[in-house]
Amino acid sequence: MDQISLIAASGMRANLQSLDLLANNMANTSTNGYKGDSEFHTVFVSEAADESDVEPTTLPMIERHWTDFSQGTLEPTSNPLDFGLTGKGFFAVQGPSGTLYTRNGSFQMSSSGTLNTRDGYPLLDQNGQPLKLLKPGAPVVVSPDGTVQQDGQPVGKLQFVDFKEPGALLKHGGNYFENSTGAKPVTPDSATVAQGKVETSNVNAAHGAVRLVNVMRQFEVMQKAISIANEMGREAIEQVAKIS
């Protein structure tokens, strides 16, 4: 394959991955606590670049994604078991194989007295243990700093965790993040809880639409580049090698 087609084809592949990311963002505009993904473009440089007299092959590609952890809008729901998180940090919940982190603060009371996510994973307190309510069924009051009370009696304090590099968190699906790199969690200083509110997705549909146009047009340009390269190749074969 000639250089132009190779580079353009690599660009097209990167654009398809951009579209995949974008499609997932757009599909999750109503997912509480969802954080949008963006792609990180880079250039692949062949090993030949180390040898000064060889023209290196450079290809555009997507090296990684990065997650936009900016705050989503807090929407009032009048459900006392909806905890909206503002500021940095995550709720910690006990997943089936280790702790998971989430910004989706929509919990349900279990009959055993823990506060569970939709998947039944209990919410953890600041000691890393599932938070146990004193009286299942009785109203729960959460203050902004995460202190939980029932009938004026203290129950415990919610655990908020953050990571120095939130990029180390992998998306787990189901609104959860998992700590993939073994990075040490830190306690965020700015996290507060708003009871009766949920944090909505931080994906902006208008922004997504603009990016969609961008991806489509870029793809079109690359496709044109390949067509032109093909044309040039054909011309070269038909015209240059013509014996008149």
């Binding site: 995949d20 499609a23 997932n24 109503s30 459900n79 009371m109 009959s111 992998l170």
Partner: protein
């Protein structure tokens, strides 16, 4: 490419579920004791294209990797048990629960069901029944010749008979509450049924220390659907549907262009 199409399709499916839920809420805006439901969504699995920590070159590793998500799904539509407004009816058999708790209704198949709709009637035998004719549990019978019926805040039902100045007690209405009311199963006709998720009912007298609400006679609890909120949700849902359909169109266009590479 195919990923993008299916992600967008999952988004459209989710918004359709959202709209169906909104439609049911709006349809029940005037249903006594109706509690609105709110659809909840989750992102689906992620495909790891590049593992984090993989070697980017001999000296460096990829810090986060590339994860491509596969869309969304509707995971639950939980009931919002916020109190609805009270409207005065002056009907002595209309009762609202101020606070937590459900009336217990004995269905015709013998199972207990639970309701917030306190609009009761008298059956042919003088027993308190709900709008569908199911008995209130425990059963309370009011004699046909009673001239007035009183339901106290603690659920005590009493009546007075002609020529007798002293009121007589007919029984006490009991309320049930659940550890997780959002886990109750809607049966239709304003009734809910117990599930494993809701936990076992805690039964007690209204206004008792178990966190059960007290009763108020002569009022009905309106539906807690906020029409304004539902309309706003409808607009958001419609726009999200539209955005996802645009992604389908874009993916289709790009697919077509890729196909046109070979002429």
């Amino acid at each position: 490419m195919i990923r993008a199409l299916f992600s967008a399709a999952s988004g459209m499916n989710a918004q359709q579920t959202n709209l169906e839920n909104i439609a049911n809420n709006i349809a029940n805006a005037n249903t006594t004791g109706f509690k609105a439901r709110r659809a909840q969504f989750q992102d689906l699995l992620y495909q790891n294209m590049i593992q984090p920590g993989a070697a980017a070159s001999q000296q460096s590793t990829v810090p986060t990797g590339l994860q491509l998500g596969l869309g969304t799904r509707a995971v639950s539509n939980e009931v919002n048990f916020a109190q609805g407004d009270f409207s005065e009816t002056d009907n002595p058999l209309d009762v609202v629960i101020q606070g937590h708790g459900f009336f217990q209704i004995r269905q015709t198949n013998g199972d207990l069901a639970y309701t917030k709709a306190g609009s009761f009637h008298l059956s042919a035998t003088g027993q308190l029944v709900d709008g569908s004719g199911n008995l209130l549990d425990p059963p309370i019978t009011i004699p046909a010749n009673a001239i007035s019926t009183t339901i106290a805040a603690d659920g005590t039902v009493s009546f007075t008979l002609p020529g007798q100045p002293a009121a007589q007690q007919a029984g006490q209405i009991q309320l049930a509450n659940f550890p997780n009311p959002a886990g109750l199963n809607s049966l239709g006709s304003n009734l809910y049924a117990q599930t494993d998720a809701s936990g076992a009912p805690v039964v007690g007298a209204p206004g008792s220390s178990d966190g059960l609400g007290s009763l108020l006679q002569g009022y009905l609890e309106q539906s807690n659907v906020s029409i304004v909120q539902e309309f706003v949700n409808m607009i958001v849902s419609q726009r999200a549907y539209e955005a996802n359909s645009k992604v389908v169109k874009a993916a289709d266009d790009m697919y077509q262009q890729a196909n046109n590479l070979k002429q």
